[in-house]
Amino acid sequence: MKEIVIISGKGGTGKTSLTASFALLAQNAVLADCDVDAADLHLILTPNIQKKHEFWSGVEAIIDPALCTNCGACLNLCRFDAIKETNGAFHIDPTACEGCGVCARFCPKGAVRLEKRLCGAWMVSDTRAGPMVHARLGIAAENSGRLVSTVRQEARRVAEETKRDMILIDGPPGIGCPVIASISGASAALIVTEPTPSGEHDLLRALELTRHFKVPAFICVNKWDIAPEKAEQIEKQALANGATVLGRIRYDKGVTQAQKQAKAVIETDTPSASDIKGLWKHFQQQMEKENQP
């Protein structure tokens, strides 16, 4: 089974638009939206939710004011600035607490308890591009990396059950916890970038990350014609860093128009649709090449 993850380093380069089109072109893939704290793929693929599960993960510490003597021991123990003092009484800021449990274990009065934490929900849905696993992180909740792992695990289960041999993952921006959880162990990463200094800078960091985790990397420059020279420069750097250049997508206002109609770009006849189809074809050829002995 192939797990293909689409990431970017920089946000807003076109990951989700590309994933939605690829999903329709692939025909036989399971989709996983791993951008759990700002998921958008559902806006294009309008899923019919079949199963919804609460996502409980980790714990949060709560001080019982009846037992607390305001000794301040927890204040010194907490490494996350989560213990707050208001009018001489201590309480814990749930948005700062990482759920390590140190305060609860070492409170001399046993006034701190740990409660299980509801951190969001994950769903298995049907879409016109195939089954999709997606999630919603709770407001200001922790554990986005674990939620990503849950989504990937569930996508693998669905793929086995429905005998599909590919999982397409819409990844989050950045290079931190949820990105690492999205790419580790994946068959290939497609990094979408743009011909700007930020696009270039963040692509190089994303390529360092894929190398670190030994995931083969492909790149594509979106909106390449905004700065053709920059696009070329980026492709050269990507090659020098061991990535395969998959192709380019032109700047196209039709992408936003498609999004407004809840359509994937390739479901319209806007000019960049043919670029994306070309990319997909190239990508398939590359994957087949890899499969040959």
């Binding site: 807003g12 290079i175 930020s198 960091r205 905004i226």
Partner: protein, 276 residues
Amino acid sequence: MKIAVASGKGGTGKTTLAINLALAAKSPVLLLDCDVEAPNAHLFLRGDLKRQHIVTIPVPEVDETKCDGCGMCSDFCAFNAIVSFGTVPVISHEMCHGCGGCMRVCPQKAIHEIDKRIGVVETFSCDTITLVQGKLDIGVALAPPLIRAVKEEAQGDLVIIDAPPGTSCPVIATLREADFVVLVTEPTPFGLNDLRLAVDVVRELSLPFGVVINRAEKEDALVRPYLEAEKIALLASIPDDRRIAESYAKGQTIIDALPEYEDVFTKLLQKIREAA
């Protein structure tokens, strides 16, 4: 005053807005780039590097001569970062949050802490702007400790904070203690969806906020109706101007490349000061 610039969706123009706000201030201002996974402000300001310091978190190390393999550290760790099977534990520094719990529970006092590097904090000087950025090391999962280190540099009358995209822990770590949050969005379905999530977060954190629409079009059936229904202040609109995209691609700030927009940022800063 600390103004944070955030957005749910990536690529809506946070960095552009933060930089141009800082330029529009025309007086000494500190710009904190808290998007430590993808810090980009320095690419547009090109200041001189003045200082750099390494940021570490404390992670456990086991003295094998003292460890009797009791496994209490392993049982205690909430992050599966230290695992023992009746043996000297195996430690995964990547998973460790640095809470110090394992060291405290160890009855043999066999665990001490060592510093693990997670990234650097760099200070640049660029005319009236002092830029402090955090840069997370490749392969490090946890951004919040580095973000906290960047925020420790906050000083002076005006601090502008460039936040990472999304709505999870790095964003929360960045926004906490801000005096005002500017949420940047674009009039697209993705922009609106992620704006709603970001609004949920700033409301949860009880922070005053307003919205800037970037790449604004004359017709907007998405973001403007939402703001009106939610009674959220629209602070400014920046039009969808291909020249802005092209100057950005060249690494130029809007105020330098297209001075006619300076007024937009001067007025925005004024509005924020009045609102906060």
